[in-house]
Symmetry: C2
Subunit: 207 residues, 2 copies
DNA sequence: CCATGTTTTTCATCCATTGAAAGTTTGCAT
DNA sequence: ATGCAAACTTTCAATGGATGAAAAACATGG
């Protein structure tokens, strides 16, 4: 009937507001006092909900920093599925990396400052790092799979795995280094892209 | 004075025995009731120590399954450092993978059954998987670094990262698949080696 | 056997996470 | 409007991992 933005009821809007309040509160508190030092009770209080309610929005304390992971992965997979007809695997992967790197700078709902903060947090808190790697691994698996499907007969599972591993490996390490030396998003993005190009050149042999 | 094996006092021997008892108990309980379902209290009880004591041997519940991670990494790094004078980076990495894969079958202190069990546990419990990936990442970083040093002037940081990423990426995915379909250690090892060879052939271009 | 340094146990506490029951709010149909 | 049903939130209680501190048990060297 109505345009979808107005169609959602109060319920939905409230939920969005609460989710947002929780993310914001968490990010701010983490920045102020550190991740470990911030309790869920504090986050919940800052967002004006009960502690228990936090868990109906996020499955864990870590999750509040990864709430958009699913969405991001879908975007990447879609990109692979819609490859250009003449695009080589290596080029496609580079475009993919570009997408990842670019997009990290233009979050829908986070400011640049928040994005950087989140990155720094994830990089510096081991359990968060572990979680990020877990998500990345999952993404790699799915990408490799998608890549096989996108190039049927041309790219075996192992080739795909190697290609994805090489590119993400290079980018991961390069970006990591850039982030931890406190580089700007622009620099990080540049470094990552150079790494991708470099790794890709080694992959051209895959066709 | 005496040969080192007899030199260690009762204290040291007891500590080894307790550590071992904890690992064994944990492994057995995890196998019987599952990881999440097993409490530290149960593990400690099975090893005849207090719960608190568990934490003077391992930093966390997860750690009891990764107690030898440090040692393994050192072995790999040593291997890179002692590369043959005419060995190419790709060949060296393949030898490395071989080492990893082989050795997983011949643990110093775990039986084959225990090794398989541990693998299955790590693969099937998300937090353990995350932890394993974290450790792997650390290893990758250090390997890339070591690789650069082993081939000064010949391999830049990004090349090294790409090479390590490609090989470990391929092996990781292949081994993962093999493990989760319940393959034997021999099969896993074979799969991993084929993956490594495949990825390496793509890397020869690095020299 | 004693003095000493270690390790283990006890005890107390914090916090993340989860289940269940009770209380509110929203959406919808009459 | 009114009121019912579904969806959410709060409250309450409990579990289990992790950590600090002080007391108790133990090993070592003299």
């Amino acid at each position: 009937m109505q345009y979808s933005s107005a169609m959602v009821g109060l319920r939905e809007r409230k939920k969005q507001r609460t989710r947002r309040a929780l993310v914001d509160a968490a990010l701010r508190l983490f920045a102020d006092k550190g991740y470990e030092e911030t309790t869920l009770a504090e986050i919940a209080a800052a967002a004006d909900v009960s502690t228990r309610t936090f868990f109906s929005y996020f499955a864990s304390k870590e999750d509040v920093l990864f709430y958009d992971a699913e969405e991001r992965m879908e975007r990447l997979l879609a990109l692979v599925a819609s490859r250009g007809p003449h695009e080589s695997p290596a080029d496609l992967l580079v475009r993919l990396i570009d997408e990842i790197v670019y997009r990290s700078g233009e979050e829908e709902d986070l400011t640049l400052e928040e994005t950087r903060l989140r990155m720094r947090l994830i990089m510096s808190v081991p359990p968060l790092q572990a979680r990020a790697l877990f998500l990345l691994f999952d993404t790699q698996l799915r990408l490799a799979e998608a890549l096989c499907e996108a190039y049927p007969g041309r790219l075996g599972p192992l080739d795909a795995a190697a290609a994805v591993g090489a590119l993400t490996g290079a980018v991961k390490l390069a970006a990591m280094a850039a982030i931890s030396r406190g580089a700007s998003l622009q620099e990080i993005s540049d470094t990552a892209r150079r790494a991708a190009a470099l790794a890709a050149s080694g992959l051209r042999s895959l066709g």
